[in-house]
Symmetry: C2
Subunit: 148 residues, 2 copies
């Protein structure tokens, strides 16, 4: 009953390690944080800096610099919004999309491999559980309020 933390800690750490496997695609090497940024830009429709920085729970100044480096290696675009010129709209370049997709495929494959060690029934249960967990965390007062 009271080994919850251990279970979670262990799972999260493992997933973190898995996550670290990412990030060299097409002769481009990117960091874990950078891959998260690509991921977040990819799944949104032309988000602003604020939006993504919030999603990643990063300081805007830190984020600003990270975006600069991603622009430098040609994965991300940043255009001032025509509606509000204070806002910069983020997007992925073709290469950025390619990299994001490659990482996505890689992660999917890893997850598939992990799920292959389960029965069909277990797979369904686990996925169902993670959904539940996410909903519960979203409802929770102690965590993750500003989340998608």
């Amino acid at each position: 009953m009271e080994n919850k933390r251990e279970l979670f800690q262990s799972m999260v750490k493992r997933f973190g390690l898995l996550n670290k496997n990412c990030c060299t695609v097409d002769n481009v090497e990117i960091s874990l944080v950078q891959s998260h940024i690509l991921y977040e830009i990819d799944r949104r429709e032309w988000p602003s800096m604020q939006q993504v920085a919030d999603a990643l729970a990063t300081d805007l100044s830190t984020f600003s610099r990270q975006v600069q480096s991603l622009m430098k290696i040609g994965l991300v675009t940043k255009v001032p919004s025509s509606a509000d010129k204070r806002i910069s709209v983020l997007g992925l370049t073709e290469e950025g999309k390619k990299v994001a997709l490659a990482i996505q495929k890689d992660m999917e494959a890893h997850l598939e491999e992990i799920f292959s060690h389960m029965t069909e029934f277990e797979r369904d249960m686990v996925l169902q559980s993670i959904k539940l967990l996410n909903e519960a965390m979203a409802k929770s007062s102690v965590c993750c309020k500003p989340m998608y």
Copy 2:
């Protein structure tokens, strides 16, 4: 079927935020990494530097310095092993144990709160699922081999 990554990413990020809530106890303020070190030392029986560094997937040199700072604030002890003088055996001071316990309680409370948004049935299912997931990840070739 292919939203696995999203589910995982979301869950892990949320848990990460929750985790960040840790770390100010008894006028002692510690970092997330430091809390993980306390946690790992606590759950092992007099581990060596290597063992904990491996568990945290940190470079030994980085870890060495982190231990130094934890010793400086009086949370961790480091004694050369009598059996093998190359090895340093790590432990928690009384204060270290207190801090570790406080964090533990805090995390448990957070998790309880999260689980309170579920039915009894769902709770059981989710815990069961996380166990399954951990086992599957342990079996996996792509992740987390050197893990407890």
